[in-house]
Symmetry: D2
């Protein structure tokens, strides 16, 4: 941190796709230093380089190669101020709950607790204010928690979608109607994910549960803090009057949320890059811009059916997953929710 | 034909991508027999196998290998009852007009004459009735034509889109609003088309002119015959009351247009195949079904913004191009517009 | 058959990749008619269309959709003169042995029995003569078998390699030294095979066991019939004197083995197609030629280190797998080894 | 440089693929600073961002966006101590000769002068000693040159191949025989390069002139300095006795050429990375290692025909092109051939 202190963190599901991404990012992080790694019992007891089937395009960080992998039990993570979870949904529920109960602060990519009304579902450039629900989450626990909590981040497609929506709602008020068509890379499915025979020279028009997630997650993220048991407030979205394409471009380009203002080190310099060229954004050219931490928008133009249409590109393994969790944790540190 | 007669046809732009596809299809056609091939002066005078940089996955038909390629001048095509044009837009205008003036019946894939109000823009399973405007087209020529005319077919994306729309309008009346997102294969751009460096591991979110074409072509095709100079009748489309997804599925599945009823040999057995599996249609599995002459629809479901949403798959080099032209010509023969 | 008889066949592993390919091919076969399908107990008792996750580009043959899937037990296949096996190696050994013991003729794609010296490893255009070892195989069984036997076909890479080698050895005598580099499609690994994340935008330079298989399988196939227990005769391969590239081209082009002469209906018209263009063969253009049942050779030229070098293309799911087994069975019928 | 001086450089062919790569690399170079950009007359007079169709995955460096592009005439480059050429072969010959005649030091990627016996063909980790021929090159010019010369680098496939060969020759003496099979990415062909329709789902087994280039370039690079007119010394390559795979691995891993020792800032820390895992190197995982400036070797094993076989991965747009030229120029600076 600015005062030179380092914050010890742990990674759950450290050998999986999201876990590997956490490790790549955390190994060069200015504040966070990896103190403990957790994975399945099959990996436990091995040095990380032996346990992981490493798939990243950069080598395993030297400081991590020989770090011993533990089982995902709180006892191994007690020195960690923050625990990042890249666990599979099959196991994430029980483990993350146990970590919270052990007074650990968990930032999770898993979907298990996203719908819980007392657990914030945070997209870092959108609703950092939802961290304010954490005391309520802690108070409902028995016994009430002092430091333990869970924060989730959203599905990768929701994340890319909701950032420009937040910028537009901030500038023009609530959105009434929204139609989204996603084209998703194979990396969104984790590893092993889609068999190559199913996807080479092909497009699969369906991902189970994805449409539903994008609908309710967007509502929870863009909605207010829940004051009722279900945590979700349904709301109408409409533009009245509709902004022009040029107004939309400007509103997107100037959007500058909390994360930048507060000084999150992993926040991109520009949250949303607006392209003027008609054939941008393109994955090949734009996905790694700002290390994949921003969102690219292009082709903002009028729509003859609704008011405005445009194209959004977001890197689903960066801002769509581990990078989001890390910025969420940075926000929590800066807001004093986590004591580093 | 059923009476055993064969109809001599010519192919313009015979060495290009669409021309190659015409040749592959016509070589096994039950009625049409290729009598003359036209290409640029660079190819003229050569046997076809020397002139063409053949890119199809089946070899050059044996009957065509040694056929001499001519320049695209009517004098070489006077024996042809039908001339198919796969010419590039840069040259198609003048050449097709000259062929029409020479009393030849031209079925064109080029875009040059699509907007002409007296030239039908025909998608074979949708608006074959527009062939009835041909006499008016001939009468406006100076001197009036007896046999010469031009028929165009639509952009490949329009074609795939408009077939299910026609089925829905037939069942439920006019459509009020429509939003389309296309994902197009590289084959839609012809050869050489998109450089591989621009598209490998990439998606390009823009094709110049494509959105505009899909809008006005759809209106012309689904509209009535023009009685004014601009040839386009704007019309409202709305569903009132909206059909259920199941009603939509049934309306699509039973759609059986003129082409089948009249006995076009290239018409697929089923115009629209409706998939029940949530992950279909897929290009790899479905694009060659019925030799690519039909259209596949899947994921018919309710839309929270408009009424209904679904996925359409159409083969842009089959039903989207040469196959459409050939069925159009078959329709013209069956309706007596062309004398075989 | 020529006399109009049909031969009942079964398919083991019917729901897998190779099994699906068997079914696609057999559904249009002039002699063979599918009588029984076998798969795991999970699929048994279901109609085929429910049991199989169909991945072929043509639909499930209508005659097969409702055929009930059985467990892989001989009792369900007693009417079959031929049983094709697309079983996984984990289960193929026991099941194929049980079928042989039940006096069934098994033609297998699995690797389990390929090294057995009394079981022929047959590439259809190369060593059909090895079928002559079947009586010895039957006599070694206890009790001796009358009709039951196992015939295997080779690894898909071996098959594509060994056909031109056989043509060259026939023309020029034994080959002394041979270096092969293979580039293999993902389809060679079956389903689900390689995860897409491992292979998109990538080349993996290793397939476990593949190099060894190509070495010993080639020796067994091109070798003579075993007269000793190990069934393999090692032999030197050398060209003395070396042929010219033009002589090699001619020897490949004229190669016309048993399968064609005997009248196998699935044999291609030309075993080896020799391309003159320097940039052929190419998978996209040549893999489906002759329904993938032949082999394409190109770029025959002198080698400054060994004598001759060239490129071979073979379709690993056609001639490399199910098609080979079917031609092997056709050969066995024509040679009277199987009584139809 | 270490003394803080900066060296002004120019880029010819600045808008092309190799030119763009030069610009990306030079914009962050510790010594070299871009002073002038040259391109065709079509681009001349425009700011770079307008002239170039930028295709790199990082944006145009801010310092270059507004730099004016000139025609490729020496008068605009007189301040440059080094001129990098990414020109197409159609124009590189005349332009590079004119720059040399104007006393400029040219480091070229073009093939035009590679065969010239008085022009060194340098692969940076292999034959930097060939820079010693430059005085002879200058003396043959009329009038003799003081500062002007041309240095070329090799074809991208040759470069990747020759680095491990140099390591082996250094350890074990001359190589007698060598067989190479290359699998090349589309990026090797520049832009627009291969049409996507020719390469998607395909392999093209031929690149015109490539095999010949790999043969004679390898001989020139690994040979001694020419003392005769043709500049090439033919030499036998043989291993006697052959090294073991383990000896080969060690020889490759320890290879540490001039570039590192001299302190070239663009030289990778390790010239050759030797992988132990049988499925490495892989393009997806290894091509960006050390910014693509090193070479990866894997699968070192015995060969039953020759002595040793292995797999090499080199990044053809990094070490295979612009990176090589830049390291060559760094070497020339460090050796005093260029006065910074």
């Amino acid at each position: 941190m600015q005062d030179g202190r380092q914050i010890k963190v742990g990674v759950l599901g450290a050998t999986g796709t999201v876990g590997q991404r956490f490790i790549s990012l955390l190994a060069v992080h200015p504040w966070f230093v990896i103190d403990a790694l957790g994975a399945s019992s099959r990996s436990a007891g091995k040095p990380y380089a032996k346990a992981a089937n490493w798939k990243q395009t950069t080598p395993i960080p030297a400081s991590i190669r020989d770090l011993m992998v533990h089982e995902c039990k709180p006892e191994y993570f007690l020195n960690c101020a923050v625990v990042f979870s890249g666990l599979d949904a099959e196991v994430a529920g029980d483990i993350e709950a146990a970590f919270r109960a052990a007074e650990l602060a968990v930032f999770s990519n898993a979907k298990n607790f996203r719908r819980d009304p007392h657990i914030p579902l945070i997209v870092p450039f959108v609703n950092a204010s939802h961290l304010s629900i954490i005391p309520q989450q802690q108070s409902l626990h028995s016994p009430p928690l002092k430091k333990g909590f869970i924060v989730t981040n959203a599905n990768c497609s929701t994340t890319g979608c909701v950032i420009p929506l937040a910028a537009l709602e901030k500038a023009f008020g609530p959105i009434e109607s929204l139609l989204v068509t996603t084209m998703q890379a194979i990396s969104g499915a984790g590893y092993p994910g889609v068999p190559s025979l199913d996807i080479m020279d092909n497009v699969v028009p369906y991902i189970g549960g994805e449409e539903e997630k994008m609908e309710w997650e967007t509502l929870k993220i863009l909605g207010g803090i829940a004051d009722s048991d279900d945590g979700l407030k349904t709301f109408d979205m409409h533009f009245s009057p509709p902004p022009s394409p040029q107004q939309v471009r400007e509103a997107l380009a100037v959007y500058s949320p909390d994360a930048q203002a507060l000084g999150c080190p992993s926040a991109p310099r520009r949250t949303i890059v607006v392209h003027e060229e008609p054939d941008r954004p393109q994955p090949r050219l734009d996905r790694y811009y700002q290390d994949g931490a921003g969102v690219s928008v292009g082709r903002v133009r009028q729509c003859q059916v609704l008011d405005i249409k445009f194209v959004v590109l977001a890197n689903n393994v960066s801002i769509g997953a581990a990078t989001s969790s890390i910025i969420n944790a940075e926000l929590a540190v800066l807001k004093g929710v986590v004591s580093g």
